[in-house]
């Protein structure tokens, strides 16, 4: 193998598994250490810079970071990264003083943002301090998008959402709420310098042709429409017996909300096997904890309506069969159809994009699925003034993805408005800092704690099921937050190898608790992986390979299960190994434009 190029900012970035997996690349271990130090405000600001909604995300994030967390590879459970974010949000001091303060000197440019979800709000936050005049449109009466209309308040209290939406609106955003945009052409005609479409994926799928659908209409509701009508308090009750169709997170929110609005026998009925449901494991657990059975392998067949009144639904039982390519087919078991009673049915079987308000003669191309053609780097459409982000760009995802899109779109808009090439994007900000303080002394807690993941306490079910607004999770207290934070392995504190200093004493190889380091003859990657102290079979993790050493061997470090304990560096007599903190921060719009060279 060729020696590893650690000058490439992505090499060490990838070692920080959580940060790498986070769509917005939040510097996770950095904020976790700050929480352990009790510096909640600083921890909050690291988050705010990257993901804009720490309080919201600390409760609701899809947490792509946690399955990636290294700790999950050496023991049962990853660090509770998401809930630690909430610890920062719950305990922070005055964060506003650290945020940009308007009024900002105007730069003469005007931007329209369609939809006030997390994607648009991120664009607004990133561009407002640069002097843009920002107009934010939403048909709802308040900002937040689906964070407000869909995510129920027992998971995300309104106060938390309002606070973080207001941090942005307070930057001097011109809001146009209760305003449905019915024509993009009209918006473009208002001489905006750029338009950002963050309108989400607002249409819930239905079962329009199913028997009984029309007859039972009064008691059949589209999940996301129903949730938003609950959120805006147009709906406050539901029948005693409820069927929720679908196996995603929307279904979980629908069933749990039903339990709070009078649903006594609430069932989730889903086509796929339990293990393959789209909902996150913790959402399923929470639903079951609220006495909601999840009935899998049942395909809806018809709505049963008698005397104009919905009585329930018929289902066909299936089981999953997989072909050689692993593709799943649901095959009927042949058993007779089964009937489940229901006063109300909530259909939560997916969402779609819909752009009835975008004219098709604006030079803005749509593909064969009727989705706008959007560049995955610039987020620009084929109309150079129109940008997309969040669920509107590539279909429904989640809040953190919408935020990540928003940052990138803001950079593009800024570059375009400055007359620069949108592809001319700056590398991330990186910094490598030495962590050595003395013998056995590092400026991070290198000691690896053995604690298992702490459980977030929940409010009593008796209270939560009777009050829709009562938050279920109570969050870690400071002490548990500290203990959970200590479980973090500090993956951003990198092991950095300098071959010219190595005397090949093997001390590092011998001391490494997880057998990461091997000195051996160089080979091609495939063979080298087999011939390490423990074969490196996790191909998603890189090998760190040195140049040829005096004894004709190379140092190979398998990054896979390195604990970042620093023992290799402690045992190295020559400091050929060193522990250095790698700070990686995605460039945001503020720093996106290269300064004109001073001549």
């Amino acid at each position: 193998m060729k020696p590893t190029d650690i000058q490439n900012p992505e090499y060490f970035h990838k070692v920080v598994d959580c940060q790498y997996a986070c769509p917005a690349h939040t510097p996770v271990p950095e904020y976790i250490r700050l929480i352990a130090e009790g510096k909640y405000t600083e921890a909050y600001m690291i988050n705010w810079d990257s993901n804009v909604f720490p309080g919201v995300l600390g409760r609701t994030c899809d947490r792509p970071c946690e399955p990636a967390c290294r700790r999950g590879r050496v023991e049962e459970e990853p660090v509770a990264i998401c809930r630690l974010k909430r610890v920062a949000a719950d305990n922070k001091g005055d964060v506003k003083q650290h945020m940009p303060h308007g009024p900002f000197p105007a730069n003469g440019k005007k931007i329209a943002l369609i939809g006030a979800g997390p994607a648009s709000l991120t664009v607004a936050r990133d561009l407002a301090p640069l002097g843009y005049e920002i107009h934010l449109y939403d048909e709802q009466k308040l900002g937040g998008g689906f964070m407000r209309s869909q995510i129920p308040s027992f998971r995300l209290p309104e106060t938390v959402l309002n606070e973080e939406v207001d941090y942005i609106l307070d930057l001097g955003i011109h809001t146009h709420f209760n305003t449905y945009v019915s024509s993009l052409k009209e918006i473009l005609a208002r001489s905006y310098d750029a338009v950002f479409v963050g309108s989400g994926a607002p249409r819930g799928r239905d079962l329009p042709d199913m028997e009984g659908r029309k007859e039972g209409d009064a008691n059949i509701h589209i999940g996301i429409d129903w949730l938003s009508s609950v959120a805006f308090e147009h709906t406050n009750k539901i029948g005693k017996k409820v069927i929720v169709l679908g196996g995603g997170n929307t279904a979980m929110d629908c069933c749990r909300t039903s339990r709070r609005l009078g649903g006594e026998e609430v069932r989730v009925i889903v086509r796929s096997p339990f293990a393959e449901m789209k909902a996150s494991p913790w959402e399923k657990e929470d639903a079951m904890h609220e006495d909601i059975p999840i009935i899998d392998n049942h395909v809806p067949k018809s709505f049963v309506v008698t005397d104009g009144k919905l009585k329930g639904m018929m289902f066909e039982k299936v089981h999953a069969v997989y072909d050689d390519a692993g593709k799943r087919k649901l095959v009927p078991t042949g058993e007779p159809e089964v009937f489940y009673e229901a006063d109300d049915v909530l259909v939560a079987i997916g969402q779609e994009n819909s752009f009835p308000w975008i004219e098709r003669d604006l030079g803005l191309e749509f593909d064969k699925w009727n989705m706008p053609v959007v560049d995955p780097i610039t987020y620009c459409s084929t109309n150079k003034k129109v940008f997309f982000g969040g669920d509107a760009a590539f279909g429904p995802k989640n809040v953190i993805t919408a935020v990540a899109h928003g940052h990138q779109a803001a950079i593009s808009i800024h570059l375009a408005c400055e007359g620069q090439d949108m592809m001319n994007r700056l590398a991330p900000f990186v910094n490598l800092t030495n962590m050595k303080m003395g013998i056995h002394e590092w400026s991070y807690d290198s000691m690896v704690v053995n604690d298992e993941r702490y459980v977030v306490p929940q409010a009593d079910k008796k209270i939560t099921l009777t009050n829709r607004k009562q938050e279920v999770e109570l969050g870690f207290d400071r002490l548990d937050g500290f203990k959970e934070a200590q479980r973090c392995l500090n993956c951003d504190v990198q092991t950095v190898f300098t071959e010219s200093k190595c005397i090949e004493c093997d001390a590092c190889m011998d001391v490494c608790p997880t057998s990461c380091i091997t000195f051996t003859v160089n080979e091609e990657e495939h063979d080298l992986r087999q011939h390490l102290k423990v074969p490196a079979m996790n191909l998603t993790q890189d090998l760190y390979v040195s140049d040829i050493l005096p004894t004709k061997r190379v140092m190979v470090k398998d990054e896979d299960v390195c604990l970042h304990c620093g023992l290799c560096a402690e045992r190295c007599p020559t400091s050929a190994w060193d522990m250095k903190k790698y700070f990686y921060n995605v460039t945001k719009a503020v720093n996106a434009c290269q300064q004109e060279a001073i001549v």
Partner: protein, 350 residues
């Protein structure tokens, strides 16, 4: 202070026949200087015991005084151990071995511990062919007492302060061969490829097995001009041949050109495979072994690898005709067979 070894190990760590991972053979985290050769030797012992599927509770580690003699704390935490007086490890090993011949004895000593204060003990334990592995971690100095020249420091070798050693060195391997040791090898802490199979063979040897391991002291004797530094040793090692250890009953798989390979069979049927042998050297011939060491020395080289080995030897127990049963298992019934037996004996003498 953050000097603590984490509990976690590689989740895919393989297991040996006993179902133990390598970590079961580890000891406490070393407190020797970072980069000390002695730690590599400890790691080689851990590896060898793991590979040989040795039950740790069937091992006793014995040592004298010195950095080297501290190392038994850093390997085989699940074994028995005795850290004795300076230079007196052989007596303790002899006593322990006589009391319980069922354990494997690993004696760890330093060049000071062996070649100075312990020299008297060393020569006698060889003569007695005590069944044990005797390892000298040889750094040419008294590491623990801050690096004074030891009796194995070569004449002309420079120490850290720039002082040149005036005295002739004691060559422990030659001495062991001379005194009739039945297994003698020499190695370098920085070459586990060689050291691990040697350790395994030595542990399988029935009788006294001696390995002199050059083991640089990074702190006091790794300077330019020292003949025990990492750089010097790497430039001056020459091997009697490359070697593999093939445990009893396993198939020999590697193939070498005719004539270049020799198979040495050990007491229990395990095999040492030697390849690319040094010219004119026969591992079963004491004289040729001494010659090979001396020839290398004359060329300023350090000869490593297996130097000499006898397959069938008579160890101390055999010579003395001691009981096969460890003393702690000798029951009262065996020791005191009763008045009937006494009468029988008396009668036989009448």
């Amino acid at each position: 202070m953050t000097y603590v070894r984490p509990k976690f190990r590689h989740p895919e760590l393989p297991k040996n026949k006993l179902g133990y991972t390598l970590s079961y053979y580890e000891g406490a985290l070393s407190t020797l200087c970072a980069g000390c050769g002695h730690d590599s030797i400890s790691a080689a012992i851990v590896q060898a015991c793991y590979d040989l599927d040795i039950e740790p509770h069937k091992v006793a580690k014995l040592s004298g005084i010195g950095c080297s003699s501290k190392t038994p704390a850093y390997f085989l935490s699940n074994s028995h151990g005795f850290n004795s007086v300076h230079g007196r490890m052989p007596s303790v090993a002899t006593g322990a071995n006589l009391a319980n011949r069922d354990l494997k004895y690993i004696g760890i000593s330093g060049d000071g511990d062996t070649a100075s204060i312990g020299m008297g003990q060393f020569v006698h334990v060889i003569r007695r062919n005590l069944n044990m592995l005797y390892v000298v971690m040889n750094n040419g100095c008294y590491g623990l007492t801050k690096g004074q020249d030891s009796a194995t420091a070569d004449a002309g070798s420079k120490n850290k302060t720039g002082q040149v050693n005036l005295f002739q060195s004691i060559d422990l391997a030659s001495l062991a061969i001379e005194l009739g040791a039945t297994f003698v090898a020499q190695s370098f802490s920085g070459d586990k490829q060689q050291l691990v199979p040697l350790m395994k063979a030595a542990m399988k040897h029935q009788g006294f097995a001696f390995i002199n391991v050059i083991s640089p002291c990074v702190t006091f004797n790794n300077n330019v001009g020292s003949t025990k530094s990492y750089d010097y040793v790497r430039e001056h090692v020459e091997a009697t041949g490359t070697l593999d250890f093939v445990p009893m009953m396993s198939e020999i798989t590697t193939e070498y050109a005719e004539g270049s390979t020799e198979h040495l069979v050990l007491h229990d049927g395990s095999i040492i495979e030697l390849h690319k042998l040094a010219d004119g050297w026969d591992p079963h011939n004491r004289i040729s072994a001494i010659n090979a060491v001396q020839h290398a020395k004359a060329k300023n080289e350090i000869l490593t690898g297996l130097l000499y080995m006898e397959k069938e030897t008579t160890d101390l127990h055999d010579m003395l005709g001691t009981t096969d049963i460890p003393l702690n298992s000798l029951t009262k019934e065996i020791l005191c067979p009763g008045s009937g037996k006494l009468k029988e004996l008396n009668d036989s003498l009448r």
